[in-house]
Subunit: 126 residues, 4 copies
DNA sequence: GTGGTCTAGACCACT
DNA sequence: GTGGTCTAGACCACC
């Protein structure tokens, strides 16, 4: 994983973990890596890893049991909410960019519906 | 303007200028700031500013006359092409993010159509 | 190498390298000197050497891999095209000079066919 | 007229004048501009203009009569010789360039015979 | 005044 | 080690 130096690393790791939960790579209630393992896995400082879990817990994304470890929340509701929030961020960013290009929401929707990526459109990679 | 350290400054300035052209803040054929003024305006080195214009020219976005200055292209066609390209990039990035959340294009379109920004919900029209 | 002050150095070095490729002193796909070595070899600034490679790459003459180096293109087609282009430039310049002397293309061809260099006439084969 | 800083100006002016003679813009025996007028015409120093005539005279291209001025040679033979010499230089330079591209004289002749300039070949200027 | 080129020296990311 | 970017400051040619 490579980090955007403009953003705090702990935020970027939080986002990556939320992704894992939303798409099911981390199941509801599943045990998450130890702080030390998380630090190794993301090549970050153990202190930073600890902060990641602390912030995620404050958002209700996970909870910790002393001596047991950290676990993904068991509330499906919460996961749906996360998904909506992350999707909302994407949409907001997308519509903002389109607006800056002078493109309305309706036009944007039409464009998304018709969108063909370059790779799809033509058969060659160049 | 604050720069994303993950991207070359000259690319970010190029994008900002393209935006200005696409939305008409810079008109077709209009004289653009001198290399030195651009450097001041974006707080970059005159060399970097020169590179911005050179790269933009190689993309056909502007043209330059020695001793006269740099000018926005006079081909409206080119501006439309730029707009499409920039919109395409936004869509690609948007759909990629949604796919990573496990959301299909069709679902994404539905979400965009129903999307209400926080600001809108609060009654803030801006 | 001594440079013609009337032409940008980077263009002259580009031409020299293209010559090397066209006549096979630099083979298809072969690794080219590093930017720093090129700078030493041609007694130019590393920045200028980098520009040479960048411009050559934009012409499709070479390609570059980060951390690996710069390599001659692997497309023989491209080399043939370069050769034709460089020959075309020579011919254009030659015919232009002849025309300025009031000599037609047909006459020029006849002169070339009968041409004996001073060195040849003296029996010097080089 | 713009001068190539790599070559002495007086040589460049000499070449320009020889051109004028070879193509007949300056006729056999015609009076040439005074040293002062030549200096103005080519925006060079009068000393340099004097040197131009001195060198041309030493080559037999012109002759001077005290109190009368400088005149183009009256020997048609000489003009032919100049033309041949200048054409020979062009041919030598041309064949040298071709040889450096690995192209023989015979091939070069074929290319010249078939040569179509870009402008001639296609009807558009771009 | 305009853009174009060059040098010097620095820091970065990738291998 | 590789190329890529950026700054600083200089000189040039053109208008």
């Amino acid at each position: 994983m490579d980090y955007n130096p403009a953003l705090p690393i702990y935020l970027q790791v939080m986002t990556a973990i939320k992704h894992d939960i939303v798409v099911g790579r981390l199941a509801l209630g599943e045990k998450m890596p130890s702080v030390r393992d998380l630090a190794i896995q993301y090549t970050i400082n153990p202190n930073t890893a600890g902060r990641v879990y602390k912030e995620l817990e404050s958002e209700g994304v996970c909870f910790t049991r002393r001596g047991m470890g950290t676990f993904v929340t068991e509330e499906e509701e919460k996961v749906l909410q996360m998904k909506e929030e992350m999707a909302g961020d994407l949409i907001s960013q997308f519509l903002g960019g389109m607006r800056r290009l002078g493109i309305s929401r309706e036009e944007a929707i039409g464009l998304v519906a018709r969108y063909q990526s370059k790779a799809d459109a033509d058969g060659n990679g160049k």
